[in-house]
Symmetry: C2
Subunit: 474 residues, 2 copies
C-alpha cells in the first residue's frame, strides 16, 4: 500500500497545465512590470518549452482556461465546443433540448471516451461465450474506456472486479435506476467476477436537505431493490459509505491518498464547485474514487492493489472516474476501466433525466399493475400522429416515442422489437397498441421484482452488507 | 445523533456575513447598472436591515472583508490590527520579532479568547481542591474559552472530558511537545475525567512529504512518549486518525456533519487555504474538530452528545476550535471549552517555535545526559552580559534568557525559581551557574522519562489505542 514515488515524479497533464498557467501569469506580470528584457525572454523561453512538453504529453495544444482531462478532452463535460445547442451532462445535471435525447456521439468526443462499436460487442461475445446483453446489442451501453485492455487481460486468465453504485436520495427507485444493476448482474454472471456496490449515503447527506439517519435508511432500503436484481451473495459486497468508511482503515487510507493528489482547482474544473460549497462536497469525489482500487477491500482482495476494476455506470458519472484515472498512476494503482450507459428517459420525453420526487415521471418499482397502465397511457410521450387516420397514413415516430424507447430497454426479443418499430413507423401499429405492448412487458417484470424483493429479509441485506471474503477465481 | 433543525434555522454569524457581502455586491451592481431608483432603495434598505441584525448577533459592526469569528474577533489570527509588528500565529506558522516571544495579551484580544486571570486560577484551585499546576501559576496556560462554564457544571456534578492531540511528523519528540500532555495529565488526575488523544497521522501525510506508513509509525512511536507521561489507561483513549476513522462509523458521521456546515470560503478565511491546496487539506479541519463531540466515541460515552469537552492545547491550534465552536450549535452539539498554552521556546531564543528536524533547537526525549549538558551550554540563548565583570555589575535579563524560561516550565519550586530570577537579574548568579541549574533539572527528568518509556510494551500501546469503555464517574 506504499506510495509509488517513481510514478509521482512524472508530472500529470493537470500538474503541467497548472505549471503552464502560472508561468503564463509570470510572463504577463513581468511584461506589466516592464521588467528587464533578458528576464522576460527567459520566462517566455520556459513557457514555450512547457507548451512543447504539454503537447507531447497530451497530444493537444495548451489552451488557457481549458484544463486537460483523460485523453485530453476538456475536463468539464459542460464546456462549450463552439455550438450553442450543447447538452449538459454532469453528476447533478443532465439536460438537452432534443426530443431524441442527448447526442451521445458528441458526448464521446467531448469526454474523450471510446465508442462501443460492433467490433467490441463481437469481441465481448467471443470472450464471454454468450450472446451480448440487449443493452450492448442496442447501444444502451454505448461508450467505454479501456474495455479492450480488460478483455486482453481476461483472455490471459487475469481477472477483474466490477464496481457500480447508487446515490440513495429516497426510498423510491424507478425502473431507470435498475439499468446499471441489470447490466452489472449480466457481467457478473458471464465473467464470474466479484462485485462491489457503493451506496453514497454520505453524498446525499451533503447535497440534500436530509438527515444522516434518513440517508442511511434509504441506502438500506435501496439495497433491497438492488439485491432483488438477483446478485450472487457469494460474489457481491454492497456497502453504505457511512458504514464502510468507519469500518475499513484501508478504505480511508485510499481516500486520503486520493485527496492528497487532487487540488481544489481540479475539482472546480471537473465538477464546477465554488468557494461557497461546503468542504464535504469538495472532498467527496475521493470517496467515490476509492472503490476503484482493489486494496480498498482487503477482506476481498487482501493487500493486492493491482486487480483491474471495471465500472458500469451512466455517462453522467464519468467526471468522477476521469479524475480517478488521472490520480491512479500517481499513487501506483491501475486506472479503472469504464462502460457508460445512455440515460433512461422520463415518461414525458427524452429531454430530461427522471426525478425520483415526481411519481409520474417514471414507473416505480412499487407501482401496481393498474398504476403502470395508467401512467403509460396518460404520461408516456407519444411519437404518434394526432388522429388514427393521419397515423395510418403517415406512420408514427419511434425515435421520440417513449413507449418504444422503454421497450428498447426491456423487451428481450430483437425480432419482435424490430417488427414493432417497423409497424409503428408505417402506421400499422397505433399508439394505444404500442402502449399496450409496453404495459404487458412492464407489469410482469415489476410484479416479479416485487415478489423477489418481498422475500429479501433484513438478514439477507446484512449478509450482502457485511465486509467478508467473496468467492471468485483469482 | 440527529441534526437539530431548529438550531439550523437561525443564521450563524458567518452565514449572515456572507448574506451581507452578497447584498452589498447586489447594491453596487444595481448602482453600476443605473437601475431604477426604487429598486436601489429597496436593496439598500435590506442591506441596512441586515447590518442591524449582524450588529445584534455579533456585537460588532459589519466590515466587508472581515468575516466574523467566535466572540467576533476576526477569524484569521494573522489579520493586521493596524500595527506593523504583528506576530504570526496559526497551526503551521508561529513567528515574532520579539526576543521575549509572542505578545500573548495581544493574541487574546485578536483571537477573542479570555485571559486566565488570578481569579480563574483561584477558582480552579477551589474546585479541584489542589494547588494549581505550575503551568497555571506561571501563566504558561494563559488563555481560555468557557472555562468558568466547565467549572460551573462540574460543581453541579456535571462532568466533562478532555481532548488533546499531536501531529506525528517524526519519531523525535522534544520537551516542548510534552507541555500539553503534562498539563492534561494533571487535569485528568485532579478532575478524574476521561481523556481522548488524537494523533493526526492523516494530517501529516497530507501536509508533509511522507508516506502513509511512515506517518502511522510515527503516531505509534509518539504514543509511547505520551503514555510515558503517566496517563491512566483506564481513563485514556489514544487514537491514530488513520486507524480510528476506519474503525468508528460514529466518528465519520460527525466528520461528515461538520463538513456539511463549513464552506471553502470559511476555511480559506480561517486557515489561508488556496485553490492550489489539495482537497484533503481543505477538509481536514473537520477531522480535528470531530473529537470535540462526545458521540464521536460511543465506546466511551454511548450515544450521549451533550458531554462538555475541554481542550488543553497550544494557542496555535485555536483556529481549528474557533471553527468547531462556530459549527457546534448548528449541528446540535455543545461548544468545546479551551485552555491555551504559550509556545515552548527554541534553545536559540523565543522568537520562533522549535523544529523537530533541527536536533540543536531543543532538548529531545532521547537525549543523553551529556547531550543535554552540551546543548544547554552551547545553544541556550543567554540573557547574561558579555563579561563576568559586567554581569556582576549590571545583572542578566531573565526575560530573554532561554535557560531561565525552561526552568519556568520545569522547576516545580516557586520560591527557588523566584530566587534564581532575582539572583540572575542582580548579577549574583552567573550564566554558567544558571545553565548548570537547568541541566540538573533536565537530566533526571529526561532520564526518568526514558526509564518509563523503556517499559512501555507494544501490548501497552495496543491497550491505550483500542476503542473500549473507560472508567469515570458519569
Amino acid at each position: 500500500m506504499a506510495d509509488s514515488p517513481d510514478a509521482e515524479r512524472t508530472m500529470s497533464p493537470m500538474e503541467l497545465y497548472e505549471k503552464l498557467t502560472s508561468q503564463g501569469d509570470q510572463v504577463r506580470a513581468l511584461k506589466t512590470a516592464k521588467a528587464d528584457k533578458a528576464e522576460i525572454d527567459a520566462a517566455v523561453q520556459l513557457l514555450l518549452q512547457l507548451k512543447l512538453e504539454y503537447k507531447k504529453l497530451t497530444g493537444q495544444d495548451y489552451k488557457a482556461g481549458s484544463p486537460p482531462s483523460d485523453n485530453s478532452a476538456p475536463f468539464n463535460g459542460a464546456v462549450e465546443d463552439g455550438t450553442n445547442d450543447e447538452d449538459t451532462v454532469d453528476p447533478w445535471n443532465v439536460s438537452t433540448s432534443n426530443a431524441k435525447g442527448v447526442d451521445y456521439d458528441k458526448l464521446i468526443v467531448r469526454f474523450g471516451s471510446s465508442k462501443i462499436d460492433q467490433k467490441l460487442v463481437d469481441r465481448i461475445e467471443k470472450v464471454a461465450g454468450q450472446q451480448p446483453h440487449r443493452f450492448l446489442r442496442r447501444g444502451i451501453f454505448f461508450s467505454h474506456r479501456d474495455m479492450h485492455q480488460v478483455l486482453d487481460a481476461y483472455e490471459k486468465q487475469k481477472s477483474f472486479y466490477l464496481y457500480t453504485g447508487r446515490g440513495p436520495s429516497s426510498e423510491a427507485m424507478h425502473v431507470g435506476h435498475l439499468i446499471p444493476f441489470i447490466f452489472t448482474k449480466w457481467l457478473q454472471d458471464v465473467f464470474d467476477v466479484p462485485l462491489v456496490i457503493q451506496l453514497t449515503d454520505d453524498e446525499k447527506y451533503l447535497w440534500k436537505d436530509l438527515t444522516i439517519e434518513e440517508c442511511h435508511r434509504f441506502a438500506v432500503e435501496n439495497a433491497k431493490d438492488i439485491i432483488a436484481c438477483g446478485f450472487d451473495v457469494n460474489k457481491t459486497f454492497i456497502f453504505s459509505d457511512l458504514d464502510y468508511m468507519g469500518a475499513s482503515p484501508e478504505f480511508y487510507r485510499n481516500v486520503v491518498k486520493i485527496e492528497k493528489h487532487v487540488t481544489f482547482n481540479q475539482v472546480k474544473g471537473i465538477f464546477g464547485f465554488t468557494d461557497s460549497d461546503c468542504i464535504g462536497k469538495i472532498s467527496f469525489p475521493a470517496i467515490q474514487a476509492a472503490p476503484s482500487f482493489s486494496n480498498s477491500f482487503p477482506q476481498i482482495f487482501g493487500s493486492r492493489k493491482d486487480i483491474q476494476c471495471l465500472i458500469p455506470c451512466a455517462i453522467d458519472q464519468d467526471p468522477y472516474f476521469r479524475m480517478t484515472r488521472d490520480v491512479a498512476p500517481r499513487i501506483g494503482y491501475p486506472k479503472p476501466a469504464l462502460l457508460h450507459s445512455t440515460f433512461f428517459p422520463a415518461l414525458q420525453g427524452a429531454q430530461t433525466k427522471m426525478s425520483a420526487s415526481d411519481a409520474n415521471s417514471s414507473i416505480f418499482l412499487t407501482d401496481t399493475p393498474k398504476q403502470i397502465k395508467n401512467k403509460v397511457n396518460k404520461h408516456a410521450f407519444s411519437g404518434g400522429k394526432d388522429t388514427v387516420e393521419e397515423h395510418r397514413k403517415y406512420g408514427g415516430n419511434p425515435d421520440v416515442d417513449v413507449s418504444f424507447m422503454y421497450l428498447t430497454f426491456f423487451l428481450e426479443d430483437d425480432e419482435q422489437l424490430e417488427k414493432i418499430r417497423q409497424d409503428y413507423a408505417s402506421g400499422a401499429l397505433l399508439t394505444g397498441e404500442l402502449k399496450k405492448l409496453l404495459i404487458e412487458t412492464l407489469q410482469p417484470m415489476i410484479a416479479q421484482h416485487q415478489e423477489r424483493r418481498k422475500h429479501i429479509t433484513d438478514e439477507t441485506v446484512k449478509q450482502f452488507m457485511t465486509p467478508r471474503p467473496l468467492n471468485f477465481k483469482q
